[in-house]
């Protein structure tokens, strides 16, 4: 049970910083609360008494959303559900809608924020690998100034980030990939409401004929302390003709990705299957030529 004496909902960044200053050492920031409330339960943190909760979801800057051709800027309080109901956003970040359908459920997505997902920094988080595939830059602000850094530097380990005391995550600046096909592969114990055992974000851009891979982005999570970009695979695929053999070659690259302590063998099998399946799905959505990939290949990884 999460017990507080005061619940504040600042209406601006300045108000938030003032409250943080006033209650220094006695507050906790919350956004959607979908990580914080379940955390304050028996078996995890148990009953937690925090004098002041500061809810950042009503701060206008944290709710901004700019979708351009080259860049996307998303406020930290953007709910995951936006990737499903904002078509322009879905086009600019094509793996994200696919990630979003696998994220918790329709209801939690309406509350859970992108910023919360990053600051919570769970190795099994689903949105962070997608952001990583977009080379996301996190924007941080405090009463004394602003700074920014790549997401991959921001998340330093399970539950660990570079967020400093008195600082808020305000938003993300991401590369936009319109025209790419996107996919998201995830496995957990059931479909909805589960954390990932393995998850993979894939984006693919093909040439006009749908036969050659012009560009691709891949990032994986769930199997290591922090999400990992698969640049080796991206480099292998870029500029090559799209074939089943190529995708299988990519999946077979000896990258030793699985660092989880449990079920390593299983996870390795899943990673291989996900790489091929994710690339097939993304390539198809990118307009792959119908004869590029065989039916047998699709059936084998379907």
């Amino acid at each position: 049970m999460l017990i507080c004496d005061e619940y504040l909902t600042p209406a601006s960044l300045d108000e938030a910083f003032a409250a943080m200053e006033r209650h220094r050492g006695r507050y906790r920031v919350v956004a959607g609360c979908t990580d914080t409330l379940p955390w304050a339960r028996e078996g995890r943190a148990g009953d937690v008494e925090i004098p002041v909760l500061i809810d950042v979801t009503k701060i206008p800057e944290l709710n901004e959303r700019h979708v351009g051709d080259k860049r996307v800027r998303l406020g930290a309080a953007t709910p995951i559900q936006r990737f499903l109901d904002d078509a322009a956003l879905g086009r600019a970040m094509p793996a994200m809608p696919r990630c979003a359908v696998w994220f918790a459920d329709d209801q939690i997505r309406a509350q859970a924020t992108l910023g919360g997902n990053a600051v919570n920094a769970s190795p099994a988080a689903d949105a962070t690998p997608c952001l990583e595939a977009h080379d996301a830059i996190v924007e941080l602000a405090s009463a004394t100034g602003r700074r920014s850094m790549p997401l991959r530097e921001f998340i330093t380990g399970p539950g660990k980030t570079q967020l400093a005391d008195g600082e808020l995550l305000t938003g993300f600046e991401c590369d936009a990939f319109p025209g790419y096909g996107g996919s998201f592969e995830k496995v957990g114990h059931r479909r909805s409401l589960v954390i990932s055992v393995v998850c993979l974000a894939v984006m693919v851009k093909l040439d006009r004929d749908g036969k050659t891979i012009e560009d691709t982005r891949l990032a994986i999570a769930g199997i290591r302390p922090v999400p990992r970009r698969l640049r080796e695979i991206e480099d292998l695929l870029r500029g090559k003709k799209l074939t089943g053999e190529l995708l299988e070659e990519a999946a077979d690259m000896p990258l030793d990705l699985v660092q989880s302590r449990s079920r390593q063998e299983y996870r390795r099998d899943v990673v291989r299957g996900f790489l091929v399946r994710g690339l097939i799905a993304a390539a198809k959505r990118a307009g792959a030529s119908p004869d590029a990939l065989t039916r047998e290949l699709e059936a084998a990884y379907g």
Binding site: L2, T34, P38, E42, P97, Q107, S192, L193
Partner: protein, 625 residues
């Protein structure tokens, strides 16, 4: 505490009220506004019993601090049938028989309402996906999906609204007919009160102190600091029990709170009744217990070895129950067999996970009748046990069975009712205890984990000549239903098969694990898992079709069971035929199939699960790709 002045529109009415800052929207709705239609099945976002609309968007109100509802429009299940007239979806749930225990149903109806608002033409797969945040443990979901499809079609004018009405049956003519459940309207509307929804004037709230240790002697319990707290009315321990303590379905080996020692993690030690749940919680934290650690035993086989820690003094060998069955001469049977297969099997503990966590309300009425209202699956037995424990004549003890939000055997044990009765007697006020999901999981019975060795002797033609089984079950710290489960397990171990030589031993063993108890199928699962698996192995070794080997050994009308029950009629052959046909079974020995089964891919085989069907139906998303 700085209260929040909350201004919101709730179920169409303006509400302006002070709320404690730590409340979740769910607490505010249920406790402050008494809108108990939506439930708390988990408190952690996992089950969907708490789903409500906030500004038209469905949300889990257990994950939402009440302050987030400032200025919002909130609609609970009570908003759907405001004037008493059920919504189309609610009627469809009623018509389709989609509610069983009903505990998930208010949330399900809300999720279904949201799904059809998002896409009035959603197909079954999309409905499944959109209802993914809501769990039901009773129905298997199919009737729920049927109901949503029916409502969709009525709303879209594809079927007439009369499809929602009851098919007329002549008075009393119900056998073989599909009859609507008479309790469904109360469930689909959220009006049915489960124990955790009930309140009484002057009611106190109960919280329980539980053991962090698996096996420890209780040296002392100091409740003075807890008792001294403002708002605390009473704190009880085993020392307060006036009568002969002890409950259990077969042996009365479990005190209502730990007496002298604790035997498992989560065992109740003391209970507090206070003006509100938070005060009771804080009082529980103020109780000081001094323990002396004892060596624990967690493995039932280890517990059977000489010198193992003893869980109950009355059972120095840690055996709760041993059930032996002997028919014929198994050794002779094995000697005469063409093939003898020996394998071992194990099954794990399973939580019932009924959606309604345990809850109860107790009071002493005007005639001094100690009354306990709870979703107990066994009120008559509980009443008798409680009378002895509290030392009152049976005429002064009353149990009222509240609607059971799922039981599956898990609510047969009198785990908390004794504490409630005692607190009501001590305070002479109504007292209520509502478990959290975690408490329910940590402290109540599980399905018995088992280890089985099974020898089976067969003739080349598939006839079983002899079966010898030894199963050891982890009964956990207390007896509960273990004796009955071992009995049933033994009786059903050899399956519905005519076997001349049978030797079965089932053992329920005390350990320091969470107690095991009743769970639907009651012991049959563990032994049948072994026997049926072994029959498949035998079929493969003998080159027989798995259905065939079962037919060869099936008991027939007039046969005698291994425990000497004469069977008037046996429906096994019919059941086998039906299962074979319905599954589209590709006949032949298990080994004859190639890498691909011939019986997959027909209409009734479901494709593998995935998510994202909504992309196919939403034009906006299609354009995005």
């Amino acid at each position: 505490m700085v209260d929040i002045r909350l201004n919101a529109t709730i179920n169409g009415r303006k509400v302006s009220r002070d709320a404690k800052p730590h409340l979740r929207l769910l607490d505010f709705l249920r406790d402050d506004l008494n809108l108990t239609g939506n439930k708390e099945g988990c408190g952690a976002g996992e089950c969907g019993t708490c789903s409500v609309f906030v500004d038209g968007v469905l949300m889990k109100s257990c994950l939402m601090p009440v302050a987030k509802a400032q200025g919002a429009t909130v609609d609970t299940i009570e908003s759907l049938a405001k004037s008493g007239e059920l919504s189309v979806l609610q009627k469809a749930f009623h018509k389709a028989g989609a509610s069983q225990c009903g505990y998930c149903i208010p949330g399900m109806v809300m999720a279904a309402t949201a799904a059809l608002r998002a896409n009035p033409f959603a197909d079954r797969e999309e409905i499944k996906e959109r209802l993914g945040g809501n769990i039901c443990r009773c129905t298997g979901y199919q009737k729920i999906f049927d109901a949503v499809e029916l409502a969709r079609d009525v709303q879209n004018g594809r079927v007439p609204a009369t499809a929602l009405l009851e098919t007329d049956t002549a008075d009393g003519d119900v056998i073989g007919k599909s009859v609507r459940r008479i309790d469904a309207p109360s469930k689909v509307s959220g009006r049915l009160k489960y124990a955790g929804d009930m309140i009484m004037p002057g009611m106190l709230h109960v919280q329980v102190l539980r053991s962090p240790h698996a096996h420890a002697r209780i040296v002392s319990i100091d409740t003075s600091a807890a008792l001294a707290m403002d708002g605390v009315e009473s704190v009880i321990t085993a020392a307060d029990v006036p009568g002969k303590d002890g409950f259990g379905v077969f042996v009365h080996d479990q005190p209502i709170m730990a007496r002298d020692k604790v035997r498992y993690v989560g065992e109740a030690i003391a209970a507090v009744a206070a003006e509100d749940a938070l005060t009771a919680k804080r009082a529980v934290a103020a109780i000081k217990v001094v323990y002396e650690q004892l060596a624990p035993v967690f493995d039932p086989d280890a517990a059977m070895r000489p010198g193992a820690p003893v869980v109950h003094d009355y059972a120095p060998d840690n055996i709760t129950k041993h059930i032996p069955i002997r028919v014929g001469d198994v050794e002779a049977g094995f000697a005469a067999s063409d093939l003898v297969i020996e394998e071992s099997y194990s099954t794990q503990a399973i939580e019932h996970a009924y959606l309604e966590p345990e809850a109860g309300l107790a009071y002493v009425d005007h005639d001094d009748v100690v009354t306990v209202v709870s979703p107990s699956q066994n009120i008559t037995h509980h009443r008798h046990m409680l009378a002895r424990i509290i030392d009152r004549p049976i005429s002064k003890v009353r149990f009222i069975m509240s609607p059971v939000g799922g039981g599956f055997g898990g609510k047969e044990d009198m785990i908390y009712q004794g504490m409630l009765a005692l607190l009501a007697m001590k305070t002479m006020r109504p007292v209520r205890l509502v478990y959290t999901r975690e408490e329910s999981i940590i402290s109540t019975a599980k399905r018995h984990p088992s280890r089985t060795t099974l020898r089976m002797g067969l003739m080349r033609d598939g006839r079983i000549r002899a079966l010898a089984m030894r199963m050891v079950c982890d009964g956990g710290a207390y007896g509960l239903s273990t004796e009955g489960v071992m009995r049933k397990a033994a009786i059903l171990a050899a399956g519905p098969y005519a076997i001349p030589n049978v030797q079965i031993d089932t053992f329920g063993i005390y350990t320091n694990n969470t107690p095991s108890g009743a769970f639907r199928s009651f012991g049959a699962l563990q032994t049948q898992f072994a026997t049926e698996s072994q029959l498949d192995i035998a079929a493969e070794r003998l080159g027989l079709d798995p259905f065939e080997i079962r037919r060869i050994n099936a008991m027939r009308d007039g046969d005698m069971t291994h425990t000497k029950q004469k069977l008037g009629s046996v429906s096994l052959m019919r059941a086998l035929d039906a299962a074979e046909q319905a599954s589209g079974w590709e006949s032949g020995a298990p080994a004859v199939r190639g890498p691909v089964r011939g019986d997959l891919g027909h209409d009734d085989v479901r494709p593998s699960v995935t998510l994202g069907t909504r992309f196919a139906s939403s034009g906006a998303q299609e354009a995005a790709e």
